[in-house]
Structure formats: structure tokens, C-alpha cells
Symmetry: C2
């Protein structure tokens, strides 16, 4: 007999951060973890060790539990359908999650909806790519994340690795963008939706480096368009839980959809400390079919900076340094071993003055990354 | 080999709420729980079941762990000294905790420090009590909480139960108070201290019912005096961790110390949602000898209302009702079975207008208690 209210598949930091609002709301999570000591398994009492690509392991974590949600988007769609057929409620469901799992399906569907996207095409051969034109961004339709499975190619020879990978590929125009934005919404099964402030996401090496909420100096009409886009995509794709729509703001002031993520997303981590209801709480509220909470900010500005593995290898030893230097920084460590470039934590600072907030957040993250103020 | 950074003795809601900032700071808790499914054991992966009055059980939870802290104040002082002698660091230490465990010791010590207290005396016989005078508040020096072990007596006959209890007793004057206040500080081993806003605590039946932060219309000099008192007591008693000083504001505008608690306290639960650094985070930071975080409020007003067991017996079923009715209420459920009057959760609302915040918090708590808006 399970006491669990919901199952979470995947033991990364997103599942870990779901546990904080789960504790508050009295929602008990049963976790399917990749190993006994992965990030979320360290902080969730009821864990099963298993493989998210093995149906029997998914069935084991879901046994006696209605709602199943996810730390990542890598559960095979046929397994999600099997869980649904067995009476569980995977949220988001396989019909929605497909569009976060497969960039080709996503582009085709969004194009069908009239959503603004970069020019794109499926490319099966170098000839297809040449016909598409250069420069281009070649993407594996499945399995890529944080810059993996993505190749920026300016001539045919640069696409050799992509074609050699065996992956199904799409090509997209290389967008001349001013910056990247992210529009997040939470959506319940009944269609209730809450939109978060549209944020600016700053990348380094294909990985999110920092997020400013709200996006500074964003034209009000564009902000509204971005939020509307996210709400419309969530509704059309029947997303349940959090949806992040990563957007390009083009040099000529348009929005183009870059990626979709159907789970709490790195561009929403600021909301733990900066919003009335965090993305993690609203993800739980949404998948559990509970009324959503307001996404209003608690302060004019929130800045989140990722802690990516760097010179600091002992985060415990550095913790007194960062808390002493920036006592108001909200430090989040994921319980992961430090490896170069790996996301091992993040820092959020909220306040009234953007320059101060940005400087403090960067300083705190630098102390946890390179070991000295940036 | 333990991965734990600290041990927490006692599996109640205070230990449960420590887990949320422990997750953020990457601090791994090993819990000594009263049973496999008590409040904190539901949400902490590394739990040992045992009895806090049994030294072997305390040694088991502390094995390989430096810092030991507490969900409650009931660990026998001799066991705390044994842990300290074995090289662990009980925080607060036994020399400090004594004054939260024993009301007689507390009164004697505070009187020695010149701290304003109600008039008081040890009473061993009805004759002692008659000499002290009526009305009086008779208290068992040890083991009482939430109104238990406290007798308000207006004549000798009413003290029969107290004397029959076999407990060591003190008598205190029945204070004519305007209201109850609470002043909380966090204190590190090196003496660094952070003071929280002084709050008003409203009791019902000897149990905290609601807390308003900051205490409305509190004279600035009294607020400052209350915070200074808490800082001074923390320093003099060498408290490490959170200290709550419960105070009477007398009808004639003085402060008198009522009780001390050396742990996160019900009068500080508002800080989870209403302060830059919650009392639970600062308790962890203090006992782990990490720099403390600011206690500044996130909004002008925070109101916390306890959810005491009432007509609502199925909190899960009531959760959609309360979240739908007051979406911005921060609901905290403790994973405890509902029993009449038992603390099973709390609700906090923060905002700019006290009347609104108070009404919303009461409404949300009432929906979880009696099942309808207050």
C-alpha cells in the first residue's frame, strides 16, 4: 500500500526541487531514481531505483499511484501510453510530451498552428541541407539538450558529424536574435492557466547561464505576445504541468519559438525565491489538478545565475564563503558531484535595483564556481 | 559511512520544515524519528527509528555526524553531555538548552541577568503557594508545552492537581497583559546574531492560534527592547540556533519574559514565506556555523494562522478547496493525522494591507479546520 500522492520519474534537480513544495502541500512523492544517491533520491524518502526506459520500472513506481510526472522528457512515448492504458495519469500526457521530445514533430505542429518559428525543414541528406541553405542550425530531432545534438553549420562539410550521428535531423535558419526570452505557463487538466513574467535567458556555450525576471526593457506588446503564445501552445498541445516556451527576440523585434520544455525549467528557477508561487509548486498543483497559485513576483527584479562545475570542486567548503559574502543570496545546491560545466546548483537574488541584484547574484555564483568574485 | 551533514533528533513538523532549506543548501539530514511515518520521516530519506530518551539511539543517529540539532527540547541533558563528550556538537548545547527545558532554571537565570520577568518563586507546598499569593500561574518546571503543565489558580484548592502531579513547580504572578509578543534571533557559535521582526502571537486555549508580523502598532522603543532582550539572552545563555523569547506586553506598557524556546518556533513560521531567510534556514545556518541570512520581511505584513485539528478530517480532500478559494495562501501541511486541536498545518499570507492579509489567512485556515470560511 503506497502512501504516495504522485510518482516522479527521474532523480535530477528538478525532481529534487519539487520536493520542497511537496513538503509544504503534504504531497508525498514516490521517486523513480537512476541510483540510490542521485540528486532527488537524497531528499525523498520513498524512492525506487530503476530505468525510465524500462516499462516494468515505470509500472513499479506508478503502482497504486494515480498521477505520474517527470524530471525530464526522456520516457518513451509507448511506455507513457502503456501507463495511461493501465489507468495512471501521466502528466503531461504522451500526446503532449511528444512535442517536447521530438523537435521535428514540434516544428511541424507549431507551424500548423501558425506559431512563429524559424524557417525550418527536415533534412535527410547533405543535398537536402544544401537545398535548405547556409548558414543553418542542424538539430537531432530527439535526445538533444543543453547544446548537445545541435550543430551550427556554415558549409556542407560542417554537417558531417550531424549526418554521421544517425539521428533524424531538421535544419533551421540561424536566427539573428537580440536575445533569448522564456515564457512559462502552468496549466491544469481543466484548462486553468497561469502565466509567469516573461524572462530573459542568457546562454553561454549552449547552456543557460543566467536569467533576469522580468526581461529588462521588454516591449509590453512583445511581453504580452510571448505570454499569449505560451498559453496558446499549452492549450493546443493539451500540456498539463509547467510549459516553458523558449523564444528568440529577433534583431527586428519579432518573436520566434526556439524550444519547448514540458516540466519545470531552468528559466523558471528564479520563481522559487522570486514569485508568490514557484514553478515547482505550480507544476505540482497542475499535475495534481489543484487550483494554481499566482505567479506574481515578490520583488521588482529577480536574477538567477547557474552554478556550473568549475574550479570549485568542494561546494560544502565554499558554502560559508558565499553565504558570508552575499548573505541574502538564495543558494540552491543539487547534491551532485562537480564536473566541468555540469549544472550543480543555482543562486537567486531578488530586490529593487537590477544592477545590484545582478551583481550580487553573479558574485555569489562566481564564488561557487570559480571560487572568487566574478 | 554517512553522507549526512547533521543529525536532527525528533520527527515532528519542525524537523520536516528544516528539510526544505536543507534541500536548498545541499545539507543532508539524518533523522532520529519516533516511527517510520512521522511527519519528518515522510520527507527525509535518511531516517533512523528510535527514542530520544535512549542514549544508544542518539549515538546511532549521531554516528559519523558532527552537528546534532533538535525538533524539540526533550532530550535529557545527561545524554546531550554524553554526545558532546563523544565529540559531537549538540546545538544548542546542554548548558543552553537547560533553560528551555526547565522553567525554574530559566526564571532563576533570567532573574540573575536582570531580565524582566513576572514575579515568581519555587513552590514546594500549598503553604508556599499561599505565601506567594493568588491569583497565580503554577507551572511544572519540566515537560509542559502548549498549555500543558500550567495551572491558573485563584485559590488554594485549584492547585491540588498541580501538587498531585509530583512535578517540581514554580508560581508566577498572573500578568495583566495587553498581548503576547515573540522576539526571535538566530545565533551562531561565534556570536553572530540576526534578529527577526518582533511579532504578535495570539493564543487560544494556551495554543498559538495566529501570528502577525510585525506586531501591529508596537511602540518602536518596545520593539527594540524586545529584540535586544532576545539578543542578550541568546548571548548570555550561549544559544546556538534559533531562540524564541515569548513576551508579555503588559497593560502598562512593559515587557516581561514568558517562555524561551531554543529551536524554530511556531511564532516564526511566517518567515518561510515572509522573510528573506526563514527561521528554518537560519537555524540550519546557525547550527552548521554558516553565516546567517537577513531576516528582512518580503512584504509589509505576514500573517500565519495555525491549522488545528477540527471538523475537517481529510486535509487532502480539502486542499483543492482552500487553494481555489485563496490561491495566494501558502499552505503548509505536516503529514499528520487530524486529531482535535492538534497542530496539523499552518497557512501564511503576505501582502501590503493588514486587514486583507489577516482575512485571507484566517479564511484559508478556516477552510482547512472547520471546512468553511471563518
Amino acid at each position: 500500500m503506497s502512501h504516495a500522492h504522485l510518482a516522479v520519474v527521474g532523480g535530477g534537480q528538478l525532481a529534487r526541487m519539487m520536493q520542497q513544495p511537496a513538503i509544504a502541500l503534504g504531497l508525498r512523492i514516490r521517486l523513480l531514481a537512476e541510483g540510490p544517491d542521485v540528486s532527488a533520491a537524497q531528499v525523498i524518502a520513498d524512492s525506487i531505483i530503476g530505468d525510465h526506459t524500462v516499462l516494468a520500472d515505470l509500472e513499479a513506481v506508478a503502482e497504486g499511484v494515480g498521477v505520474v510526472t517527470f524530471d525530464h522528457e526522456h520516457v518513451p512515448p509507448e511506455h507513457l501510453r502503456a501507463l495511461a492504458d493501465a489507468g495512471h495519469a501521466p502528466r503531461p500526457g504522451p500526446h503532449a510530451l511528444l512535442y517536447a521530445q521530438d523537435k521535428g514533430e514540434m516544428r511541424a505542429r507549431l507551424t500548423g498552428l501558425g506559431t512563429p518559428c524559424p524557417r525550418w525543414a527536415f533534412v535527410e541528406t547533405p543535398g537536402d541541407l544544401a537545398a535548405f541553405g547556409f548558414p543553418a542550425v542542424v538539430k537531432a530531432t530527439r535526445g538533444g539538450y543543453d547544446g548537445k545534438g545541435v550543430w551550427v553549420v556554415r558549409e556542407a562539410a560542417e554537417a558531417a558529424e550531424a549526418f554521421a550521428s544517425g539521428a533524424r535531423l531538421i535544419a533551421e535558419e540561424l536566427v539573428d536574435f537580440r536575445r533569448e526570452l522564456s515564457a512559462q505557463v502552468a496549466r491544469r487538466p481543466n484548462g486553468e492557466v497561469v502565466a509567469y513574467p516573461v524572462v530573459e535567458s542568457r546562454q553561454a556555450g549552449g547552456v543557460c547561464a543566467e536569467v533576469v525576471s522580468p526581461a529588462p526593457d521588454l516591449d509590453a506588446a512583445l511581453a504580452s505576445e510571448a505570454a499569449d503564445l505560451a498559453e496558446r501552445i499549452a492549450a493546443e498541445l493539451d500540456v498539463v504541468g509547467m510549459l516553458a516556451v523558449e523564444l528568440f527576440e529577433t534583431a527586428d523585434g519579432r518573436l520566434l519559438v526556439n524550444e519547448l520544455a514540458m516540466r519545470p525549467h531552468n528559466t523558471g528557477h528564479w520563481s522559487i525565491d522570486g514569485a508568490v508561487t514557484s514553478q515547482f509548486e505550480n507544476h505540482l498543483r497542475a499535475v495534481m489538478d489543484l487550483p494554481l497559485g499566482p505567479a506574481d513576483p515578490l520583488a521588482p527584479w529577480s536574477v538567477m545565475v547557474n552554478v556550473l562545475g568549475g574550479a570549485v570542486t568542494d561546494l560544502d567548503a565554499q558554502l560559508p564563503v558565499v553565504l558570508g559574502d552575499v548573505p541574502h543570496a538564495k543558494v540552491h545546491l543539487y547534491g551532485k558531484a562537480v564536473k566541468p560545466g555540469r549544472k550543480v546548483g543555482h543562486v537567486t537574488v531578488v530586490g529593487d535595483d537590477l544592477a545590484d541584484v545582478l551583481a550580487d547574484a553573479r558574485r555569489a555564483a562566481a564564488l561557487l564556481t570559480v571560487g572568487s568574485p566574478a
